[in-house]
Subunit: 404 residues, 2 copies
């Protein structure tokens, strides 16, 4: 049976005619190497941003259904143009919209979730020896409306198609060479990782590594889709994301990640009553604000009220505060915010079997005089909130301690 | 029952945010006046031209299926943006692609014909009190691919929807105030016509009046759809196209039209054998070249061969010559071309009942020293091919004779 490969090209990889033609050549080379090929494309370069700007010229709060109709056009353009280029190279290619490709989603416009992939039309086209190009980032809802999957959604499209058609690998082509042990712009000697487990990649995507969208990694783990993150501009192998890829003993940590778009919210004098944390979290969830870290101090004296802190994406801070207003006024809770925080995380499967990683993290930061404001851990991750202007120092120090 | 109106806005009517919002206001005003409204939009301003340029950067001969996928995005963007604007005005609007609107076409990419309109989804939306915006110029083929209807196809979309949903009128909004007795840029005292019959409008569209696409007028006549051509920028009534609109006695002619994009081809020494004209016409039809006027002179002496002349759109001249090559070489036919011709036509239902119109046309042109190269007539039209640099003079002279 002919092996099948899904290839996904991001916006920078199709930004101008030369790059788009190069992507077409890579797709053709993969076909000529004996594979069936399904390629998922993003919108070209700044197309999506330009469309968002057009919408904002028309409406301060564009209707989400119509936003999806508008934004979904960018990927269709990329696919049509790439199909033209492939046809010129002597291969048959057809472009499909998300709907034509059978990507069925729920009705949550601008951030829809994939419910089903009905890949029959893709299978027929592959059987007819066509190369299939699918518009990323979009689908059709159960109400037959065009939906989009949110920023980075093309990764999810690619992984979902790979799962549905049983592809051997899902190759994600971007302008970086793979997944690194830290952001190379921050740490000069950051190394490209040959392999990363799903769990590690999930934590990395959730804590600032921009290379893969979180939801696509979740989908890949659930469906066992091997992802190969690699460069559009070189043939060198990138990073394979999957389980059981590497049986060599692992270092304590695999990578250091960071983010500088967090804001910290502290609530003081929260009544010490059962259910308070739940009420606060519910209010924020209903406003669609994702809380990241959350810590609470029990009051020392009864009736004094507790302190509660959490972080939210900075862009959601205004919404979060607006959502909390009724509750905080009713209960006389004081709110403080700090928009100058950042987060640094160490991530690694090795942590599960090696003790003392946390101690080493804290002492490394302490030696650098970096104050740790909040801490959160998972079996494969330790994250610390620190002052935003110390994030770079923290990343470099932790990378030096663990990875050099 | 609530009356239903179809409104169609061309590319210039939605070119910038201000114009697009004005179109939205007009649509809302129509709804608030007690009508159900379906609006068909074209791509904004130069969007389609920009997309064609993008395709040409990728491929010298873009695949037609992919061209349709590419070009269809422009109208979708217009509709989504207009729906946002209408929602902001407090009305519910949804945008639909040609496919979602039920426009089913044949599979002739880039020039598809509408086979059926399955307007169920539009009817449901109207019943729910929504304003429905439909992307013009496009449909879905019987092979489930996106198709486009060719330049000006949005007019046909509007007329076809008006027929399918039984609209009371199909309003075509453009940057001109209606249909004129001649091109106002050429004839300063050209008058806006209150009414024009289908037959007159067909002849006018076919002979250079740019206001309505020919195919949309054919569709309107076949299905009895009343069209109202009017300005996007004023509330003044425009021109109503339909039959039985006006029972007043008509002048001999209604309008003078012209075109300056014709080329004349003359074939000399065409063998005087049955079927020759058919063979020539077939070769051109297979190359998708529309012949306009055609005249043939019988040979005076047997065996001398005939002369045959016809006009084609200038942009099709190269294709026409290439298509004729085999035949002309085989039969030793000489080809001459003239790319400096133009056409002037007088059109009017009144011609059917008034004699002497042709004589008056010829003597008017003769008095201006304008040489008539070819003549073609229909029951409501007389067209003359003249030197291109005399077209303007011819239009002015004929308008002065018949219409002032």
């Amino acid at each position: 049976m002919t092996p099948t490969v899904v290839m996904k090209f991001g916006g920078t990889s199709v930004a101008d005619p030369e790059r788009l033609k190069r992507a077409a050549q890579r797709i053709v080379a993969k076909r000529e190497a004996g594979n069936h090929v399904v390629a998922v494309l993003s919108a070209r370069g700044k197309t999506t941003d330009a469309l968002i700007a057009e919408a904002q010229e028309i409406s301060a709060q564009p209707d989400p259904r119509e936003m999806d109709m508008l934004l979904s056009t960018g990927e269709r353009q990329s696919c049509a143009l790439c199909a033209m280029a492939i046809n010129d190279l002597g291969h048959r290619a057809i472009s499909l919209t998300g709907s034509q490709a059978g990507i069925v989603t729920d009705t949550s416009h601008t951030k829809a979730r994939i419910l089903d992939v009905r890949a029959e039309r893709i299978r027929v086209a592959l059987d007819e020896d066509s190369i299939v190009l699918v518009a990323g980032f979009q689908g059709v809802s159960t109400a037959k409306d065009v939906t989009t999957l949110g920023r980075g959604g093309s990764d999810t499209t690619a992984v979902a198609l790979a799962a549905a058609i049983g592809a051997d690998v899902c190759e994600i082509y971007t302008d970086v060479a793979g997944v690194f042990s830290a952001d190379p712009r921050v740490v000069a000697d950051a190394r490209k990782l040959a392999t990363v487990s799903f769990e590690e990649m999930l934590e990395m995507s959730a804590s600032g590594a921009g290379v893969l969208q979180l939801r696509s990694v979740e989908y890949a783990r659930t469906h066992g889709v091997r992802i190969h993150c690699r460069s559009s501009f070189s043939d060198a192998p990138g990073t394979v994301v999957g389980d059981g890829e590497d049986t060599a003993p692992r270092p304590a940590i695999t990578a250091v990640t960071h983010s500088t778009d967090d804001a910290r919210v502290t609530l003081q004098h929260v009544p010490d009553a059962p259910g308070m944390a739940g009420r606060i979290a519910t209010v924020l969830a209903e406003a669609n604000v994702n809380i990241d870290m959350i810590i609470q101090n029990e009051p020392v004296t009864a009736g004094a009220g507790a302190d509660m802190s959490f972080t939210v994406p900075q862009e959601d801070l205004r919404i979060a505060l607006a959502a909390l207003r009724v509750l905080t006024e009713e209960l006389a809770i004081e709110i403080h915010t700090d928009e100058s925080v950042g987060k640094v995380s160490v991530i690694g499967e090795g942590m599960k079997t090696q003790a003392g990683v946390a101690a080493k993290v804290f002492s490394t930061l302490g030696a650098e005089q970096i104050n740790i404001q909040m801490i959160a851990t998972s079996p494969v991750k330790i994250s610390c909130i620190v002052a935003r202007d110390r994030v770079t120092d923290a990343v470099r120090a932790l990378h030096a301690t663990f990875l050099t």
